[in-house]
Protein backbone atom coordinates (compact mmCIF):
# COMPACT_ATOMS: atom_id res chain seq x y z
CA UNK A 1 0.00 0.00 0.00
CA UNK A 2 2.72 2.44 1.02
CA UNK A 3 5.01 1.55 -1.88
CA UNK A 4 2.06 1.84 -4.24
CA UNK A 5 1.39 5.36 -2.99
CA UNK A 6 5.05 6.35 -3.29
CA UNK A 7 5.02 5.66 -7.02
CA UNK A 8 2.06 7.95 -7.79
CA UNK A 9 2.49 11.46 -9.26
CA UNK A 10 0.88 12.91 -6.13
CA UNK A 11 3.62 11.57 -3.93
CA UNK A 12 6.26 12.77 -6.39
CA UNK A 13 4.62 16.20 -6.20
CA UNK A 14 4.69 16.20 -2.40
CA UNK A 15 8.30 15.07 -2.33
CA UNK A 16 9.31 17.90 -4.63
CA UNK A 17 8.40 20.46 -1.93
CA UNK A 18 11.30 22.13 -0.13
CA UNK A 19 11.36 22.14 3.66
CA UNK A 20 9.64 23.45 5.78
CA UNK A 21 6.75 23.60 3.27
CA UNK A 22 6.88 19.83 2.87
CA UNK A 23 6.33 19.17 6.59
CA UNK A 24 3.53 21.74 6.68
CA UNK A 25 1.83 20.13 3.70
CA UNK A 26 2.10 16.61 5.09
CA UNK A 27 0.88 17.64 8.56
CA UNK A 28 -2.01 19.56 7.02
CA UNK A 29 -2.98 16.68 4.77
CA UNK A 30 -2.88 14.20 7.68
CA UNK A 31 -5.17 16.41 9.79
CA UNK A 32 -7.65 17.14 7.01
CA UNK A 33 -7.78 13.60 5.64
CA UNK A 34 -8.30 12.05 9.08
CA UNK A 35 -11.16 14.44 9.85
CA UNK A 36 -12.76 13.75 6.47
CA UNK A 37 -12.43 9.98 7.04
CA UNK A 38 -13.92 10.45 10.50
CA UNK A 39 -16.91 12.27 9.00
CA UNK A 40 -17.49 9.57 6.39
CA UNK A 41 -17.21 6.71 8.92
CA UNK A 42 -19.10 8.54 11.68
CA UNK A 43 -21.75 5.81 12.20
CA UNK A 44 -19.00 3.24 12.75
CA UNK A 45 -16.73 5.38 14.90
CA UNK A 46 -19.26 7.01 17.21
CA UNK A 47 -20.08 4.61 20.07
CA UNK A 48 -23.38 6.24 21.04
CA UNK A 49 -26.31 8.12 19.59
CA UNK A 50 -25.04 11.74 19.43
CA UNK A 51 -28.41 13.41 19.94
CA UNK A 52 -29.95 11.60 22.89
CA UNK A 53 -29.26 11.13 26.58
CA UNK A 54 -27.08 8.06 27.06
CA UNK A 55 -25.57 8.47 30.54
CA UNK A 56 -25.53 10.66 33.64
CA UNK A 57 -24.90 14.31 32.75
CA UNK A 58 -21.61 16.18 33.26
CA UNK A 59 -19.43 13.11 33.71
CA UNK A 60 -15.70 13.61 33.04
CA UNK A 61 -13.93 11.63 30.27
CA UNK A 62 -13.83 7.89 31.00
CA UNK A 63 -13.27 4.61 29.17
CA UNK A 64 -16.81 4.33 27.86
CA UNK A 65 -17.32 8.05 27.32
CA UNK A 66 -13.96 9.19 25.87
CA UNK A 67 -14.74 12.91 26.08
CA UNK A 68 -17.23 12.71 28.94
CA UNK A 69 -20.89 13.65 28.78
CA UNK A 70 -22.55 17.04 28.44
CA UNK A 71 -25.12 18.84 30.55
CA UNK A 72 -27.97 16.64 29.31
CA UNK A 73 -26.08 13.37 29.36
CA UNK A 74 -25.13 13.10 25.67
CA UNK A 75 -21.80 11.53 24.73
CA UNK A 76 -19.43 14.38 23.77
CA UNK A 77 -17.16 12.11 21.71
CA UNK A 78 -20.04 10.90 19.54
CA UNK A 79 -21.16 14.49 19.10
CA UNK A 80 -17.66 15.55 18.01
CA UNK A 81 -17.49 12.71 15.48
CA UNK A 82 -20.90 13.45 13.97
CA UNK A 83 -20.37 17.21 14.19
CA UNK A 84 -17.55 17.04 11.63
CA UNK A 85 -20.18 16.25 8.98
CA UNK A 86 -21.94 19.59 9.41
CA UNK A 87 -18.75 21.64 9.28
CA UNK A 88 -17.44 19.86 6.21
CA UNK A 89 -20.79 20.10 4.44
CA UNK A 90 -21.15 23.82 5.06
CA UNK A 91 -17.55 24.57 4.13
CA UNK A 92 -17.61 22.43 0.97
CA UNK A 93 -20.86 23.96 -0.28
CA UNK A 94 -19.72 27.49 0.47
CA UNK A 95 -16.37 26.95 -1.27
CA UNK A 96 -18.14 25.52 -4.33
CA UNK A 97 -20.48 28.51 -4.50
CA UNK A 98 -17.81 31.16 -4.06
CA UNK A 99 -15.59 29.45 -6.62
CA UNK A 100 -18.47 29.15 -9.09
CA UNK A 101 -18.92 32.93 -8.96
CA UNK A 102 -15.47 34.27 -8.12
CA UNK A 103 -13.38 32.34 -10.66
CA UNK A 104 -15.37 33.02 -13.87
CA UNK A 105 -16.01 36.64 -12.93
CA UNK A 106 -12.32 37.15 -12.21
CA UNK A 107 -11.40 35.62 -15.57
CA UNK A 108 -13.89 37.77 -17.48
CA UNK A 109 -12.90 40.91 -15.63
CA UNK A 110 -9.18 40.36 -16.15
CA UNK A 111 -9.46 39.26 -19.76
CA UNK A 112 -11.93 41.80 -21.15
CA UNK A 113 -11.09 44.76 -18.89
CA UNK A 114 -12.90 48.01 -19.62
CA UNK A 115 -16.30 48.81 -18.23
CA UNK A 116 -17.14 45.21 -17.19
CA UNK A 117 -13.97 45.11 -15.15
CA UNK A 118 -14.70 48.45 -13.49
CA UNK A 119 -18.23 47.55 -12.49
CA UNK A 120 -17.30 44.10 -11.18
CA UNK A 121 -14.31 45.47 -9.29
CA UNK A 122 -16.41 48.09 -7.56
CA UNK A 123 -19.04 45.51 -6.54
CA UNK A 124 -16.41 43.09 -5.25
CA UNK A 125 -14.49 45.81 -3.41
CA UNK A 126 -17.63 46.95 -1.66
CA UNK A 127 -18.36 43.39 -0.48
CA UNK A 128 -14.75 43.09 0.61
CA UNK A 129 -14.95 46.33 2.55
CA UNK A 130 -17.46 44.86 5.04
CA UNK A 131 -16.10 43.10 8.12
CA UNK A 132 -16.54 39.51 6.93
CA UNK A 133 -18.14 38.00 10.03
CA UNK A 134 -20.67 40.80 10.39
CA UNK A 135 -21.63 40.41 6.74
CA UNK A 136 -22.06 36.65 7.13
CA UNK A 137 -24.18 37.13 10.25
CA UNK A 138 -26.35 39.68 8.46
CA UNK A 139 -26.89 37.44 5.43
CA UNK A 140 -27.54 34.37 7.59
CA UNK A 141 -29.98 36.32 9.77
CA UNK A 142 -31.95 37.37 6.70
CA UNK A 143 -31.99 33.86 5.20
CA UNK A 144 -32.86 32.11 8.46
CA UNK A 145 -31.03 29.39 10.37
CA UNK A 146 -30.10 26.29 8.36
CA UNK A 147 -26.79 24.72 7.26
CA UNK A 148 -27.44 25.56 3.59
CA UNK A 149 -28.15 29.20 4.43
CA UNK A 150 -25.00 29.29 6.52
CA UNK A 151 -23.09 27.99 3.51
CA UNK A 152 -24.58 30.69 1.27
CA UNK A 153 -23.76 33.47 3.70
CA UNK A 154 -20.19 32.22 4.05
CA UNK A 155 -19.88 31.94 0.26
CA UNK A 156 -20.74 35.64 -0.10
CA UNK A 157 -17.66 36.57 1.95
CA UNK A 158 -15.17 34.63 -0.15
CA UNK A 159 -16.39 35.46 -3.67
CA UNK A 160 -14.30 38.68 -3.72
CA UNK A 161 -11.22 36.77 -2.55
CA UNK A 162 -11.40 34.35 -5.47
CA UNK A 163 -12.33 37.19 -7.80
CA UNK A 164 -9.37 39.40 -6.88
CA UNK A 165 -6.78 36.65 -7.04
CA UNK A 166 -8.08 35.20 -10.31
CA UNK A 167 -8.38 38.63 -11.90
CA UNK A 168 -4.81 39.51 -10.95
CA UNK A 169 -3.41 36.25 -12.29
CA UNK A 170 -5.46 36.58 -15.47
CA UNK A 171 -3.96 40.02 -16.10
CA UNK A 172 -0.53 38.46 -15.72
CA UNK A 173 -1.11 35.37 -17.86
CA UNK A 174 -3.02 37.28 -20.54
CA UNK A 175 0.16 39.11 -21.60
CA UNK A 176 2.15 35.92 -22.00
CA UNK A 177 3.17 35.31 -25.62
CA UNK A 178 1.48 31.90 -25.65
CA UNK A 179 -1.89 33.61 -25.13
CA UNK A 180 -1.10 36.14 -27.86
CA UNK A 181 -0.16 33.18 -30.04
CA UNK A 182 -3.67 31.81 -29.55
CA UNK A 183 -5.11 35.16 -30.66
CA UNK A 184 -2.94 35.13 -33.77
CA UNK A 185 -4.00 31.55 -34.51
CA UNK A 186 -7.61 32.75 -34.56
CA UNK A 187 -8.84 31.04 -31.36
CA UNK A 188 -12.21 31.99 -29.92
CA UNK A 189 -12.42 33.84 -26.61
CA UNK A 190 -13.69 30.66 -24.96
CA UNK A 191 -10.56 28.73 -26.00
CA UNK A 192 -8.34 31.54 -24.77
CA UNK A 193 -10.15 31.81 -21.43
CA UNK A 194 -9.84 28.04 -21.00
CA UNK A 195 -6.14 28.26 -21.64
CA UNK A 196 -5.75 31.09 -19.14
CA UNK A 197 -7.73 29.10 -16.57
CA UNK A 198 -5.48 26.06 -17.01
CA UNK A 199 -2.55 28.26 -16.13
CA UNK A 200 -4.02 29.77 -12.98
CA UNK A 201 -5.36 26.59 -11.32
CA UNK A 202 -2.57 26.67 -8.75
CA UNK A 203 -3.80 30.09 -7.60
CA UNK A 204 -7.34 28.78 -7.24
CA UNK A 205 -5.99 25.88 -5.20
CA UNK A 206 -4.11 28.19 -2.84
CA UNK A 207 -7.07 30.53 -2.39
CA UNK A 208 -9.30 27.49 -1.81
CA UNK A 209 -7.15 26.10 1.01
CA UNK A 210 -6.66 29.43 2.75
CA UNK A 211 -10.25 30.58 2.44
CA UNK A 212 -11.57 27.23 3.68
CA UNK A 213 -9.31 27.53 6.73
CA UNK A 214 -10.97 30.88 7.40
CA UNK A 215 -14.45 29.66 6.50
CA UNK A 216 -14.29 26.93 9.16
CA UNK A 217 -13.92 29.59 11.85
CA UNK A 218 -16.76 31.62 10.33
CA UNK A 219 -18.98 28.54 10.21
CA UNK A 220 -18.23 27.83 13.87
CA UNK A 221 -19.10 31.42 14.72
CA UNK A 222 -22.40 31.23 12.83
CA UNK A 223 -23.49 28.03 14.53
CA UNK A 224 -22.26 29.37 17.88
CA UNK A 225 -24.76 32.17 17.31
CA UNK A 226 -27.46 29.64 16.38
CA UNK A 227 -27.54 30.62 12.70
CA UNK A 228 -26.72 27.18 11.32
CA UNK A 229 -28.06 23.89 12.68
CA UNK A 230 -30.51 23.72 15.57
CA UNK A 231 -30.18 21.82 18.83
CA UNK A 232 -29.78 18.87 19.36
CA UNK A 233 -28.07 18.24 15.98
CA UNK A 234 -24.36 17.69 16.78
CA UNK A 235 -22.18 20.53 15.53
CA UNK A 236 -18.86 21.86 16.81
CA UNK A 237 -19.83 25.51 16.94
CA UNK A 238 -23.14 24.77 18.60
CA UNK A 239 -21.50 22.50 21.22
CA UNK A 240 -18.96 25.19 21.93
CA UNK A 241 -21.84 27.39 22.91
CA UNK A 242 -23.74 24.77 24.93
CA UNK A 243 -20.56 23.93 26.85
CA UNK A 244 -19.56 27.49 27.48
CA UNK A 245 -21.76 28.14 30.61
CA UNK A 246 -20.30 25.02 32.25
CA UNK A 247 -16.70 25.96 31.55
CA UNK A 248 -16.32 28.02 34.72
CA UNK A 249 -17.72 25.21 36.86
CA UNK A 250 -14.88 22.98 35.80
CA UNK A 251 -16.73 20.93 33.17
CA UNK A 252 -14.15 21.85 30.56
CA UNK A 253 -14.62 18.86 28.19
CA UNK A 254 -17.98 19.91 26.80
CA UNK A 255 -16.65 23.03 25.06
CA UNK A 256 -12.96 22.18 24.85
CA UNK A 257 -13.28 19.04 22.70
CA UNK A 258 -15.28 20.53 19.81
CA UNK A 259 -13.24 23.74 20.17
CA UNK A 260 -9.97 21.92 19.65
CA UNK A 261 -11.45 20.14 16.63
CA UNK A 262 -12.37 23.48 15.04
CA UNK A 263 -8.82 24.70 15.57
CA UNK A 264 -7.33 21.47 14.22
CA UNK A 265 -9.38 21.45 11.02
CA UNK A 266 -8.77 25.12 10.33
CA UNK A 267 -5.07 24.67 11.02
CA UNK A 268 -4.95 21.70 8.66
CA UNK A 269 -6.27 23.72 5.73
CA UNK A 270 -4.12 26.71 6.63
CA UNK A 271 -0.99 24.54 6.62
CA UNK A 272 -1.86 23.11 3.22
CA UNK A 273 -2.61 26.57 1.85
CA UNK A 274 0.60 28.10 3.20
CA UNK A 275 2.68 25.23 1.87
CA UNK A 276 1.11 25.50 -1.59
CA UNK A 277 1.46 29.27 -1.74
CA UNK A 278 5.11 28.88 -0.76
CA UNK A 279 5.64 26.29 -3.44
CA UNK A 280 3.93 28.21 -6.22
CA UNK A 281 5.21 31.52 -4.82
CA UNK A 282 1.76 33.06 -4.85
CA UNK A 283 1.18 35.79 -2.30
CA UNK A 284 -2.42 35.16 -1.33
CA UNK A 285 -4.26 37.19 1.26
CA UNK A 286 -7.59 35.97 2.53
Amino acid sequence: MMTLFLSTPISAFIRSFPQPAKSMLILGLVIVISIVVMAILAPYIAPHDPASRVYIELQPPSRNYLMGTNHVGMDVFSRVVWGSRVVLFVVAVSAAISMAFGVPLGLISGYYGGLVDRVLSIIMDSIYAFPSLILAIAVAAVLGPSPLNAAISIAVIYVPTYYRMVRGETLKVKQMPFIEALIVLGCSDATILKSIFRNITQTVLVVFSLSVADAILTEAALSFLGLSVTWPTPDWGLDLRSGQPHLLNGYWWIAMCPGLMIIALSLGFALIGEALSDYFSIAAKV
Partner: protein, 328 residues
Protein backbone atom coordinates in the same frame (compact mmCIF):
# COMPACT_ATOMS: atom_id res chain seq x y z
CA UNK B 1 -1.57 44.58 -56.71
CA UNK B 2 2.16 45.00 -56.27
CA UNK B 3 2.68 43.92 -52.71
CA UNK B 4 1.07 41.55 -50.21
CA UNK B 5 1.25 43.92 -47.30
CA UNK B 6 1.17 47.69 -47.65
CA UNK B 7 1.26 49.89 -44.57
CA UNK B 8 0.79 53.64 -44.94
CA UNK B 9 1.31 56.33 -42.33
CA UNK B 10 1.18 53.80 -39.52
CA UNK B 11 1.14 55.39 -36.08
CA UNK B 12 0.83 53.98 -32.59
CA UNK B 13 0.66 56.30 -29.59
CA UNK B 14 0.39 54.80 -26.13
CA UNK B 15 -1.13 57.17 -23.57
CA UNK B 16 0.99 57.73 -20.48
CA UNK B 17 -0.85 57.29 -17.20
CA UNK B 18 -1.50 60.63 -15.54
CA UNK B 19 -1.24 61.07 -11.80
CA UNK B 20 -3.98 62.86 -9.84
CA UNK B 21 -1.83 66.00 -9.64
CA UNK B 22 -1.38 66.01 -13.40
CA UNK B 23 -5.13 65.92 -13.84
CA UNK B 24 -5.68 68.66 -11.26
CA UNK B 25 -3.04 70.89 -12.81
CA UNK B 26 -4.82 70.32 -16.13
CA UNK B 27 -1.69 68.99 -17.73
CA UNK B 28 -2.36 67.55 -21.17
CA UNK B 29 -2.17 63.87 -21.85
CA UNK B 30 1.28 62.63 -22.79
CA UNK B 31 1.87 59.93 -25.34
CA UNK B 32 4.63 57.46 -26.02
CA UNK B 33 5.02 57.78 -29.76
CA UNK B 34 6.16 54.20 -30.33
CA UNK B 35 5.50 54.23 -34.05
CA UNK B 36 5.26 57.62 -35.69
CA UNK B 37 4.34 57.42 -39.35
CA UNK B 38 5.76 54.29 -40.93
CA UNK B 39 5.34 53.25 -44.57
CA UNK B 40 6.13 49.67 -45.47
CA UNK B 41 5.66 47.36 -48.41
CA UNK B 42 6.29 43.65 -48.33
CA UNK B 43 6.15 41.99 -51.73
CA UNK B 44 5.00 38.46 -52.53
CA UNK B 45 7.60 35.96 -51.38
CA UNK B 46 9.77 38.72 -50.02
CA UNK B 47 11.49 38.92 -46.65
CA UNK B 48 11.80 42.39 -45.24
CA UNK B 49 14.08 42.85 -42.26
CA UNK B 50 13.03 45.55 -39.80
CA UNK B 51 16.15 46.63 -37.97
CA UNK B 52 16.60 48.95 -35.03
CA UNK B 53 17.60 49.27 -31.38
CA UNK B 54 15.27 48.25 -28.62
CA UNK B 55 12.73 51.02 -28.18
CA UNK B 56 12.72 51.93 -31.86
CA UNK B 57 9.15 50.66 -32.31
CA UNK B 58 9.93 47.68 -34.52
CA UNK B 59 8.02 45.15 -32.42
CA UNK B 60 4.99 47.45 -32.19
CA UNK B 61 5.04 47.78 -35.97
CA UNK B 62 5.06 44.01 -36.34
CA UNK B 63 2.25 43.60 -33.83
CA UNK B 64 0.12 46.11 -35.73
CA UNK B 65 0.67 44.32 -39.03
CA UNK B 66 -0.43 41.02 -37.49
CA UNK B 67 -3.48 42.58 -35.83
CA UNK B 68 -2.40 42.27 -32.20
CA UNK B 69 -2.35 46.02 -31.78
CA UNK B 70 -4.72 48.57 -33.26
CA UNK B 71 -2.93 51.45 -34.97
CA UNK B 72 -3.71 54.94 -33.71
CA UNK B 73 -3.63 56.13 -37.30
CA UNK B 74 -2.79 54.84 -40.74
CA UNK B 75 -3.78 51.96 -42.96
CA UNK B 76 -2.70 48.38 -43.44
CA UNK B 77 -3.62 46.63 -46.67
CA UNK B 78 -3.31 42.86 -46.70
CA UNK B 79 -4.06 41.44 -50.15
CA UNK B 80 -5.91 44.68 -50.76
CA UNK B 81 -8.10 44.32 -47.65
CA UNK B 82 -7.99 47.17 -45.15
CA UNK B 83 -7.20 45.45 -41.82
CA UNK B 84 -7.68 48.45 -39.58
CA UNK B 85 -11.35 48.74 -40.48
CA UNK B 86 -12.24 45.07 -40.06
CA UNK B 87 -14.51 43.81 -37.32
CA UNK B 88 -13.15 41.33 -34.81
CA UNK B 89 -14.96 38.49 -36.56
CA UNK B 90 -13.77 39.41 -40.05
CA UNK B 91 -10.24 39.74 -38.75
CA UNK B 92 -10.48 36.22 -37.32
CA UNK B 93 -11.22 34.92 -40.81
CA UNK B 94 -8.01 36.43 -42.16
CA UNK B 95 -5.90 35.36 -39.20
CA UNK B 96 -4.94 31.91 -40.55
CA UNK B 97 -3.15 33.63 -43.43
CA UNK B 98 -0.97 35.66 -41.09
CA UNK B 99 1.14 34.10 -38.40
CA UNK B 100 3.65 35.27 -35.86
CA UNK B 101 6.82 33.73 -34.47
CA UNK B 102 7.62 35.13 -31.06
CA UNK B 103 10.93 36.04 -29.55
CA UNK B 104 10.83 33.98 -26.36
CA UNK B 105 10.41 30.27 -27.06
CA UNK B 106 9.98 29.67 -23.32
CA UNK B 107 6.92 31.89 -23.05
CA UNK B 108 5.20 31.34 -26.37
CA UNK B 109 4.05 27.79 -25.67
CA UNK B 110 1.38 26.87 -23.12
CA UNK B 111 3.21 24.99 -20.35
CA UNK B 112 0.13 22.87 -19.62
CA UNK B 113 -0.52 21.46 -23.11
CA UNK B 114 1.37 18.80 -25.07
CA UNK B 115 3.38 20.44 -27.83
CA UNK B 116 1.79 18.22 -30.48
CA UNK B 117 -1.67 19.38 -29.49
CA UNK B 118 -0.50 22.98 -29.61
CA UNK B 119 0.72 22.56 -33.17
CA UNK B 120 -2.60 20.90 -34.09
CA UNK B 121 -4.65 23.68 -32.49
CA UNK B 122 -4.81 26.05 -35.50
CA UNK B 123 -6.04 23.24 -37.76
CA UNK B 124 -8.77 22.22 -35.36
CA UNK B 125 -10.04 25.63 -34.32
CA UNK B 126 -10.23 26.77 -37.92
CA UNK B 127 -12.18 23.60 -38.68
CA UNK B 128 -9.79 22.46 -41.38
CA UNK B 129 -9.66 18.81 -40.38
CA UNK B 130 -10.66 16.35 -37.69
CA UNK B 131 -8.45 15.18 -34.85
CA UNK B 132 -6.93 12.19 -36.66
CA UNK B 133 -6.04 14.09 -39.81
CA UNK B 134 -4.65 16.89 -37.69
CA UNK B 135 -2.37 14.52 -35.82
CA UNK B 136 -1.06 13.10 -39.08
CA UNK B 137 -0.34 16.58 -40.40
CA UNK B 138 1.36 17.58 -37.15
CA UNK B 139 3.68 14.56 -37.27
CA UNK B 140 4.56 15.55 -40.84
CA UNK B 141 5.35 19.12 -39.88
CA UNK B 142 7.33 18.09 -36.80
CA UNK B 143 9.53 15.94 -38.98
CA UNK B 144 9.79 18.79 -41.47
CA UNK B 145 11.13 21.19 -38.81
CA UNK B 146 13.68 18.61 -37.77
CA UNK B 147 12.12 17.26 -34.58
CA UNK B 148 12.55 13.50 -34.62
CA UNK B 149 11.11 11.10 -33.80
CA UNK B 150 7.90 13.12 -34.28
CA UNK B 151 5.58 10.68 -32.51
CA UNK B 152 7.71 10.99 -29.39
CA UNK B 153 8.03 14.78 -29.58
CA UNK B 154 4.25 15.06 -30.04
CA UNK B 155 3.62 13.74 -26.52
CA UNK B 156 6.12 16.03 -24.80
CA UNK B 157 5.37 19.11 -22.72
CA UNK B 158 7.25 22.35 -23.42
CA UNK B 159 9.47 22.07 -20.33
CA UNK B 160 10.82 18.78 -21.66
CA UNK B 161 12.28 20.48 -24.74
CA UNK B 162 15.28 22.75 -25.23
CA UNK B 163 15.02 26.37 -26.37
CA UNK B 164 15.95 25.49 -29.94
CA UNK B 165 13.43 22.64 -30.05
CA UNK B 166 10.72 24.89 -28.64
CA UNK B 167 11.38 27.49 -31.32
CA UNK B 168 11.04 24.74 -33.93
CA UNK B 169 7.66 23.88 -32.39
CA UNK B 170 6.63 27.54 -32.59
CA UNK B 171 7.69 27.62 -36.24
CA UNK B 172 5.81 24.38 -36.93
CA UNK B 173 2.66 25.85 -35.34
CA UNK B 174 2.93 28.98 -37.49
CA UNK B 175 3.69 27.07 -40.70
CA UNK B 176 1.11 24.29 -40.44
CA UNK B 177 -1.53 26.73 -41.72
CA UNK B 178 0.59 27.53 -44.80
CA UNK B 179 0.29 31.25 -44.09
CA UNK B 180 0.92 33.89 -46.70
CA UNK B 181 2.52 36.32 -44.30
CA UNK B 182 4.65 35.72 -41.22
CA UNK B 183 5.95 38.21 -38.69
CA UNK B 184 9.05 36.83 -37.00
CA UNK B 185 9.91 38.92 -33.94
CA UNK B 186 13.57 38.33 -33.14
CA UNK B 187 13.10 34.58 -33.52
CA UNK B 188 16.72 33.71 -32.81
CA UNK B 189 17.80 36.34 -30.28
CA UNK B 190 17.12 34.05 -27.32
CA UNK B 191 18.53 30.94 -28.91
CA UNK B 192 21.98 29.52 -28.46
CA UNK B 193 24.35 31.01 -31.04
CA UNK B 194 25.31 27.58 -32.36
CA UNK B 195 21.69 26.81 -33.23
CA UNK B 196 20.79 30.15 -34.82
CA UNK B 197 21.97 29.36 -38.32
CA UNK B 198 19.89 26.18 -38.51
CA UNK B 199 16.72 27.97 -37.35
CA UNK B 200 17.26 30.76 -39.87
CA UNK B 201 17.89 28.17 -42.58
CA UNK B 202 14.60 26.50 -41.65
CA UNK B 203 12.72 29.79 -42.02
CA UNK B 204 14.31 30.35 -45.42
CA UNK B 205 13.29 26.88 -46.56
CA UNK B 206 9.68 27.50 -45.60
CA UNK B 207 9.77 30.84 -47.35
CA UNK B 208 11.00 29.24 -50.57
CA UNK B 209 8.63 26.31 -50.35
CA UNK B 210 5.45 28.21 -49.49
CA UNK B 211 6.40 31.44 -51.25
CA UNK B 212 5.47 33.35 -48.12
CA UNK B 213 6.22 36.94 -47.31
CA UNK B 214 7.95 37.69 -44.07
CA UNK B 215 8.62 40.63 -41.82
CA UNK B 216 11.74 39.74 -39.93
CA UNK B 217 12.27 41.92 -36.87
CA UNK B 218 15.80 42.00 -35.52
CA UNK B 219 18.36 44.27 -33.91
CA UNK B 220 21.17 42.36 -35.53
CA UNK B 221 22.16 43.35 -39.08
CA UNK B 222 24.24 40.20 -39.44
CA UNK B 223 21.09 38.11 -38.96
CA UNK B 224 19.16 40.36 -41.34
CA UNK B 225 21.81 39.79 -43.97
CA UNK B 226 21.31 36.02 -43.75
CA UNK B 227 17.55 35.97 -44.27
CA UNK B 228 16.30 39.20 -45.79
CA UNK B 229 15.86 40.50 -49.31
CA UNK B 230 15.37 44.07 -48.23
CA UNK B 231 16.18 45.97 -45.05
CA UNK B 232 14.31 48.77 -43.35
CA UNK B 233 16.08 50.63 -40.57
CA UNK B 234 13.92 52.17 -37.88
CA UNK B 235 14.83 54.81 -35.36
CA UNK B 236 12.47 56.19 -32.70
CA UNK B 237 9.31 55.16 -34.53
CA UNK B 238 10.37 56.33 -38.00
CA UNK B 239 12.08 54.70 -40.93
CA UNK B 240 15.47 56.24 -41.64
CA UNK B 241 16.74 54.02 -44.44
CA UNK B 242 15.44 51.34 -46.71
CA UNK B 243 16.98 49.29 -49.49
CA UNK B 244 18.14 45.94 -50.79
CA UNK B 245 20.00 44.07 -48.09
CA UNK B 246 23.39 44.03 -49.80
CA UNK B 247 23.24 47.69 -50.69
CA UNK B 248 22.28 48.84 -47.21
CA UNK B 249 24.96 46.76 -45.54
CA UNK B 250 27.78 47.52 -47.96
CA UNK B 251 27.01 51.15 -48.69
CA UNK B 252 24.87 52.48 -45.84
CA UNK B 253 23.75 56.08 -46.18
CA UNK B 254 22.20 57.17 -42.90
CA UNK B 255 24.64 57.83 -40.05
CA UNK B 256 22.46 55.63 -37.83
CA UNK B 257 22.71 52.69 -40.22
CA UNK B 258 26.45 53.20 -40.37
CA UNK B 259 26.60 53.12 -36.60
CA UNK B 260 24.52 49.94 -36.46
CA UNK B 261 26.85 48.25 -38.91
CA UNK B 262 29.89 49.42 -36.96
CA UNK B 263 28.44 47.82 -33.87
CA UNK B 264 28.33 44.35 -35.41
CA UNK B 265 31.42 42.53 -34.20
CA UNK B 266 33.35 40.97 -37.05
CA UNK B 267 36.35 38.79 -37.47
CA UNK B 268 38.92 39.83 -40.07
CA UNK B 269 39.09 42.95 -42.21
CA UNK B 270 36.41 45.53 -42.46
CA UNK B 271 36.15 47.97 -45.31
CA UNK B 272 33.88 50.57 -43.73
CA UNK B 273 35.20 53.14 -41.34
CA UNK B 274 33.94 52.69 -37.80
CA UNK B 275 31.30 55.15 -36.73
CA UNK B 276 30.57 55.61 -33.11
CA UNK B 277 27.31 57.01 -31.86
CA UNK B 278 27.12 58.23 -28.31
CA UNK B 279 24.29 58.05 -25.83
CA UNK B 280 21.08 56.14 -25.81
CA UNK B 281 17.88 56.28 -27.78
CA UNK B 282 15.88 59.32 -26.51
CA UNK B 283 12.63 58.96 -24.60
CA UNK B 284 9.79 58.40 -27.08
CA UNK B 285 7.57 60.71 -24.98
CA UNK B 286 9.89 63.61 -25.81
CA UNK B 287 10.96 63.08 -29.36
CA UNK B 288 13.68 65.55 -30.46
CA UNK B 289 12.63 68.25 -32.89
CA UNK B 290 13.72 68.20 -36.51
CA UNK B 291 15.54 65.04 -37.43
CA UNK B 292 15.01 62.76 -34.46
CA UNK B 293 18.56 61.43 -34.71
CA UNK B 294 20.24 64.84 -34.39
CA UNK B 295 20.99 64.42 -30.67
CA UNK B 296 23.33 61.53 -31.40
CA UNK B 297 24.44 62.24 -34.95
CA UNK B 298 28.16 62.99 -35.49
CA UNK B 299 27.36 64.94 -38.68
CA UNK B 300 24.68 67.14 -37.19
CA UNK B 301 23.99 70.44 -38.97
CA UNK B 302 21.86 73.41 -37.93
CA UNK B 303 19.10 72.41 -40.29
CA UNK B 304 18.83 69.00 -38.64
CA UNK B 305 17.76 70.52 -35.34
CA UNK B 306 14.79 72.37 -36.72
CA UNK B 307 13.51 70.58 -39.82
CA UNK B 308 12.58 67.00 -40.34
CA UNK B 309 14.68 65.40 -43.05
CA UNK B 310 12.92 64.58 -46.34
CA UNK B 311 12.84 61.11 -47.88
CA UNK B 312 15.43 60.93 -50.61
CA UNK B 313 15.67 58.11 -53.12
CA UNK B 314 19.37 57.84 -53.74
CA UNK B 315 19.16 54.97 -56.19
CA UNK B 316 16.37 52.65 -57.30
CA UNK B 317 14.87 51.08 -54.21
CA UNK B 318 17.39 52.62 -51.85
CA UNK B 319 16.11 55.58 -49.88
CA UNK B 320 17.18 57.54 -46.84
CA UNK B 321 15.79 60.22 -44.62
CA UNK B 322 18.75 62.50 -43.98
CA UNK B 323 19.76 66.10 -44.79
CA UNK B 324 23.25 64.96 -45.82
CA UNK B 325 21.82 63.67 -49.08
CA UNK B 326 19.57 66.60 -49.83
CA UNK B 327 20.56 68.58 -52.88
CA UNK B 328 18.51 71.57 -51.87
Amino acid sequence: MKALVIAKGLKKYFPVRRTITDVMLMKGRLYVRAVDGVNLEIGFGETLALVGESGSGKTTTGRMLIGLEKPTEGSILFEGIELTKLSKRALKKIRPHMQMIFQDPYASLDPRVKVGDQVAQPLIINGLCNADEAKEKVLEVLERVGLTPPSEIYERYPHQLSGGQRQRIVIARAMIMRPKFVVADEPVSMIDVSLRASILELLKEFKREYGLSMLFITHDLAVAKLVADRVTVMYLGKIVEEGAVGEVIHSPLHPYTKALISSVPTIGNRILEKLKVVGEIPNPINIPSGCRFHTRCPFVMNKCRSDEAPWINVSKGHGVSCWLYSTK
